[in-house]
Symmetry: C2
Subunit: 246 residues, 2 copies
């Protein structure tokens, strides 16, 4: 496993800006600062890799917590179950993102399901716990990742609590676009890995409403959709859907 190391232009002495380009650990390495030897130790957190077939669970709600997972390739959803068995999708995860953080309290409270054949790095919590005591930068990164997860959830709460349907879908598409481009994919053309029902669950809408909105956005020239293939034609227009709160 390799990592590219760049000297900081004007940083503190003995500090390096480190990117774990090949190990899918960006969340824990960036934008933290790790010296080269600590980086090697962080990389050793990767205890194993695990393949997960489309439709299979990486972990399930209620299961005993043991590890956090970093997505190497593929796509996941996380979801919690209602008392009556109804599903609420709480997030979608793509390459480089961390899964399972919410389990640290002892048990996973959500389930993670692969939406396509995927591969993850297994980061046993015992190792993270141990190492973050010895490497303060890792400790801080871990805390930062947890805090960002909370911030992300608050953003979703804002979306669910105060946006109308078309604003929700526009937000969703813009968010996907931003995450794809950070991973080197096209920001305007991509395949959705999730169904309309899963999108709807995440956005607090029914699948028919999602479908109708896709059609409406297409009619307005904002996007082109055909099943799971999406082509964003007017990013500014999508942003304007959000700006036009009345």
């Amino acid at each position: 496993m390799s990592a590219s190391i760049h000297l900081q232009p004007s940083g503190a002495p003995r500090k390096f800006e480190v990117t774990c380009s090949s190990c899918s650990l960006r969340e824990l390495c960036l934008p933290g600062e790790l010296c080269a030897e600590d980086l090697a130790r962080v990389e050793n957190l990767v205890y194993a890799r695990r393949r997960v077939k489309r439709g299979d669970a990486l972990f399930t709600a209620g299961g005993e917590f043991g590890a956090v997972y970093s997505v190497r390739s593929g796509f996941f959803k996380t979801s919690v179950l209602d008392n009556d068995g109804r599903e609420q999708v709480t997030g979608f995860f793509m390459g480089g993102e961390l899964l399972g953080l919410e389990g640290i309290s002892g048990r996973y409270h959500a389930s993670a399901t692969a939406l396509e054949d995927s591969e993850v790095c297994v980061l046993p919590y015992a190792l993270i716990e141990q190492l973050s005591r010895e490497v303060p930068a890792l400790q801080r990164q871990l805390h930062a990742v947890l805090a960002r997860e909370i911030a992300r959830d608050h953003g979703v709460m804002l979306l669910l609590g105060s946006m109308r349907a078309e604003e929700r879908l526009a937000t969703f598409l813009l968010n996907l676009s931003r995450r794809f481009v950070r991973r080197g994919y096209s920001p305007t053309e991509f395949q959705l890995r999730m169904t309309r029902e899963e999108i709807g669950s995440y956005l607090g809408l029914k699948l028919e409403t999602v479908s109708r909105l896709f059609s409406a956005f297409q009619k307005d020239g904002l996007i082109e959709v055909q099943q799971k293939h999406v082509h964003i034609r007017d990013i500014g227009g999508l942003e304007r859907v959000l700006a036009a709160r009345h």
Copy 2:
């Protein structure tokens, strides 16, 4: 500052079940296991106390992160602001609960406002960071608290994403009830500290809808409401509002 210490009935040797009854640090002490000397160190995390007047901010979104706060007395709300200045309430916090965890990434991303004259313990992050390296039980508790916060948010997402208005309000009342009773107050009779508008924002409803639902619950004999005073007359009935998903 004192703490009551109980030997565990059949625990591991040299481990104590510790409760920080007077220091408002339950979240970081329970259900963790700390030996007596570590407990003293955890209590020293409390760097200062701070009074916050009703309506004043404890911290504001965008402000630099420095400390986590434990509510000693009083009541807070946290909220994030929309691009257009609309407010989304993300949580309510009462005695013993921790505030500001989401700031660990560097800046607070939400604001905390006192809903009545309140007092908090200030826990500087630098101290937490330092001490949690030396006291594994604290480290684990900190992680657990963060993870529970994420789990809590997922619960709210489920509420906002898939419940109808009356289910949301019933959930809200039952949640308040449970939290009051844990603090030694009546589970069936309490004063709301927040306005209808703040409840509505939290639940993704308009204030008029909240008001109407209170009236409807009263007509159904589930509760008695008069302004901010609430008396729950039929907890089972409130629970049945949730069970009756169609």
